[in-house]
């Protein structure tokens, strides 16, 4: 019964909305808004195993690489900058500035440095994903409880030990929040990075469909993007629960 209720909640509203879309577009003759029926039929035809291998998987691989690089770079730099007061002051204005530049504007600049291959696309993803992680890590590190830090100092824990036992756990809820935001941004950047100088990829495919007026296929690509987003969000929730189970339990208790 619980399973049924869970499934109903998950699928209820989307099904209703889908149904409305189906009915509303059934007689559509508009070129750019084909009937949902046609889009779904196109879905099966377009996203064959061949296309998955050629387009979707490379895109996801690049997203994965870019995201992983952002996490590693963001957390490492964030720990460093957050713990060193003068470094924080030095870099803060420049960091705030750099993150405010819209990624599509940066793509030509990145192309100059990284060429036009996979490196460029991964670099574009990193250029956008790193900011939430970096800034959240810095904030998390700076919010480490003073009492705990003093205790660590009193016990003579070295810098490394303090980092791993006190600072990192204290910062982890914020870091995970940053990682979640980055994931959403990463998906967007994955599409943007493939709008320029690409030869394969999900975003590339969607743009090519649009350019060659294969509109139902374009819509099916957008639908696929949405599904990927949901799947990635669900995966991230699992990760969140695994890493922060102690934090969630604590909040529940205090609620």
């Amino acid at each position: 019964m619980r399973l049924l209720r869970g499934a109903l909640l998950l699928l209820g509203l989307p099904t209703v909305l889908f149904g409305l879309w189906w009915i509303a577009s059934a007689d559509s003759t508009s070129f750019y808004f084909p009937p949902l029926q046609k889009i779904l039929a196109e879905f099966a035809e377009t996203w064959t195993a061949e296309r998955w291998r050629a387009d979707v998987l490379p895109s996801l691989a690049r997203l994965g690489a870019g995201y992983a690089a952002s996490c590693v770079l963001g957390i490492t730099l964030g720990l460093l900058i957050g713990r060193t007061r003068w470094l924080l002051h030095l870099t803060e204005p420049v960091l705030e500035f750099a993150r405010a530049v819209p990624p599509p504007v940066l793509v030509p600049v990145i192309m100059l440095v990284a060429g036009i291959g996979d490196t460029m696309k991964t670099a574009v993803i990193v250029s956008g994903c790193i900011w939430p992680i970096l800034l959240n890590t810095i904030a998390g590190v700076r919010s480490a409880d003073a009492v705990q830090l003093d205790t660590a100092a009193a016990f003579g824990l070295g810098r490394t030990r303090t980092l791993t036992s006190v600072v990192l756990p204290a910062a982890s809820p914020r870091i995970v929040t940053g990682m979640r935001q980055s994931l959403a941004i990463g998906l967007i950047l994955m599409v943007i990075s493939e709008m320029f100088a690409a030869q394969s990829g999900l975003g590339f495919a969607i743009v090519q469909f649009q350019r060659s007026y294969a509109i139902p296929a374009m819509w099916s690509g957008i639908l696929l993007l949405g599904c990927l987003g949901v799947a990635l969000a669900a995966l991230f929730n699992l990760f969140d629960r695994a890493v922060l189970h102690w934090y969630h339990r604590m909040r529940e208790r205090s609620a």
Binding site: L112, I116, Q199, Q208, R211, S212, Y213
Partner: protein, 317 residues
């Protein structure tokens, strides 16, 4: 909360008003027609800017509102949705749209190749030290075009074929024109297909042309044209005729006054003065070259870019 509701009501009203304003009436009280034309701010559309400046449209009772878009991807849907009355786009894109079922028609010529190898406004360029010397050498190379499955790659394949080479495994990559010179210089690409002003920019960097694809595809190739929906052509034939006549006069004026062209370019582009002076200007003949368009359609069909065969007669006036 009340403030929030008021704010939302205001916002909704604003958006609806903005939407309503999207579809304006074309007729004016004083008898002139206001038309909106979607163009890309590039060299090719200099004539229409000149025509507006010289009054060719005003004397035919047309007020032109030019809207600069970033590419055919924004203009063709804009015309189809009647946001623009007229648009500017290359012929292969128009053939693609027409073969996909969009009800559009060419109303006037836009721009054409000069037809002279060695002095055209677009070419395939390579770096100075490249081993590629002839079009046939492009076989198996990485060539950048600004849009895949469009006029660039189809005409380049023809260049290679005409020179006796094999076009089947050329690695076409889609790169925006502005980024091509740097990528060529960095060695990430073997060759780039560029049009002015980027052709002159690459030349200034030491690049040299290796294939004149517009010339090889067909004699006096019509590259791009002004188009409108079939609906407009049928419902307001008079307006379309007057617009076409004004465009024809503008094209002639541009052909006769190349210095005026270079001057007007400074008003809607950022091209630097020395590049402006060095650029090869395209040709602006008064009529669309029908044979060349049929050739483009045949080339496109051979390369498999059309889902259905395009109907050239339905597209051209």
């Amino acid at each position: 909360m009340r403030r929030l509701l008021a704010l939302s009501a205001l916002a909704i009203t604003l958006v609806s008003t903005a939407t309503a304003c999207g579809g304006e009436e074309d007729g004016n009280a004083d008898g002139t027609d206001t038309v909106s034309v979607g163009v890309i701010p590039i060299v090719d559309v200099a004539p229409i800017y000149l025509g507006i400046e010289q009054g060719f449209f005003a004397e035919r009772g047309i007020t032109v509102e030019l809207t600069e878009a970033q590419g055919g991807a924004a203009i063709v849907p804009g015309v189809a949705a009647e946001e623009f009355d007229f648009g500017f786009s290359n012929l292969t894109s128009l053939l693609l749209a027409q073969s996909s079922g969009l009800p559009i028609e060419v109303v006037a010529n836009g721009v054409a190749s000069t037809g002279e190898a060695g002095a055209d406004f677009g070419a395939v360029m390579v770096a100075a030290d490249s081993p590629i010397q002839t079009p046939a050498d492009l076989a198996g190379a990485t060539v950048a075009v600004n849009t895949l499955n469009n006029i660039g790659d189809t005409t380049i394949r023809e260049s290679v074929r005409a020179d006796g080479g094999d076009p089947t495994d050329i690695g076409f990559t889609e790169v925006p024109f502005p980024d091509m010179p740097a990528q060529l210089a960095a060695g990430n690409l073997d060759a780039v297909w560029v049009v002015e002003p980027f052709k002159s920019i690459v030349e200034a960097e030491g690049g040299r042309p290796v294939a004149w694809n517009y010339v090889d595809a067909a004699p006096d190739l019509t590259v791009a044209a002004y188009f409108a929906t079939t609906k407009l052509v049928q419902e307001d034939a008079d307006l379309v005729e007057r617009f076409a006549a004004a465009i024809a006069e503008s094209l002639q004026y541009a052909t006769d006054n190349p210095d005026a062209v270079r001057d007007i370019l400074t008003t809607y582009t950022d091209i630097s003065p020395d590049i402006l002076a060095a650029m090869t200007l395209p040709a602006w003949p008064a009529d669309v070259n029908r044979d060349s368009v049929e050739r483009l359609a045949a080339l496109g069909e051979a390369d498999g870019i059309f889902e259905n065969p395009p109907d050239v007669d339905a597209l051209l006036p």
